[in-house]
């Protein structure tokens, strides 16, 4: 993982998550902004996947367990579309909150992934 990119992901996921939760509690159904924010988080996760695949080959190997890292990453990649799917099917305020919860979970997971990659020993 790349440190600055990690923080970009975490910050964007936090902002998206908080925005969706707030908008959801304010009664907004899933709209372009909330769905777009979740989509952005997902796109960043895909980019993260590419980075993770390439990084060990260019001198940036994980210090922690690679399998554990991928468990988190794949779960995260699956989680966001699941929330988006839910939001597309059930168009009410709670789906927006669910989108927010998913994005906040991604923020935590990306942070954990960085810990595994750069801090924890295998």
């Amino acid at each position: 993982m790349i440190e600055w990119f990690t923080w970009v992901q975490v910050v964007i996921a936090l902002i998206a998550g908080l925005a969706c939760v707030v908008l959801g509690f304010a009664g907004k159904r899933p709209n372009d902004i909330t769905l777009g924010a979740a989509l952005l988080v997902e796109v960043l996760l895909i980019a993260q996947l590419v980075v993770a695949i390439i990084a060990p080959g260019v001198g940036n190997p994980p210090t922690g367990n690679l399998a554990e890292f991928y468990v988190y990453l794949i779960s995260a990649i699956i989680l966001v579309p699941a929330a988006i799917f839910w939001a597309l099917i059930e168009r009410n305020r709670w789906s927006t909150v669910v989108l927010g919860v998913a994005c906040l979970a991604i923020a935590v997971m990306v942070y954990r992934m960085y810990q595994i990659w750069a801090v924890q020993t295998a």
Partner: protein, 158 residues
């Protein structure tokens, strides 16, 4: 235009009281958060057990137990009926007790369950370590919210 707003108040039997006080929307959010936590706990404990069970067998076994309890709690929150309600009550109470007990042990006496340190982000940390600090205290707060939610949607028969 036909005025189809309900003019008559619903009859106040205990069953309809329970239905009216139910908040399905927030309940769904609770279920989703429980589901994510169940997924996190299950994934992590399965991985820890496969990878390094010997390092902290008691802690990882507790982790697996908590994962199972979370999964059952998630299902119990969704499923209707008095039996599932009781199961939800039991599992969520168990979780609350678990996070408090394991949190206390891991914070003050990690050696009791064979842990070298009490780092909630370390290799041997689990969902309940240090009161769920590694998961932003969500494992501590969530069962409290779960119990409050269950109290509000208590079925008449329970």
């Amino acid at each position: 235009m036909v005025n189809n707003s309900s003019a008559a108040a619903p009859s106040s039997t205990p069953a309809s009281e329970a239905r009216r006080s139910r908040t399905p929307g927030i309940g769904r959010v609770l279920v989703v958060v429980y589901g994510i936590l169940a997924l996190a706990a299950a994934g992590r404990s399965v991985f820890q057990i496969i990878d390094r069970f010997g390092e902290a067998p008691v802690a990882f076994s507790l982790s697996a137990l908590s994962a199972v309890v979370y999964i059952v709690a998630t299902v119990a929150l969704v499923a209707p009926g008095a039996v599932w309600y009781r199961i939800a009550l039991i599992t969520i109470s168990f979780e609350l007790a678990g996070v408090l007990v394991v949190g206390t042990i891991t914070t003050f006496a990690p050696g009791l369950i064979g842990l070298a340190d009490n780092d909630p982000f370390g290799r041997t940390s689990t969902v309940w370590s240090s009161y769920g600090l590694g998961y932003l205290l969500i494992p501590l707060v969530l069962p409290v919210l779960g119990l409050l939610y269950l109290r509000r949607r208590r079925p008449a028969a329970v």
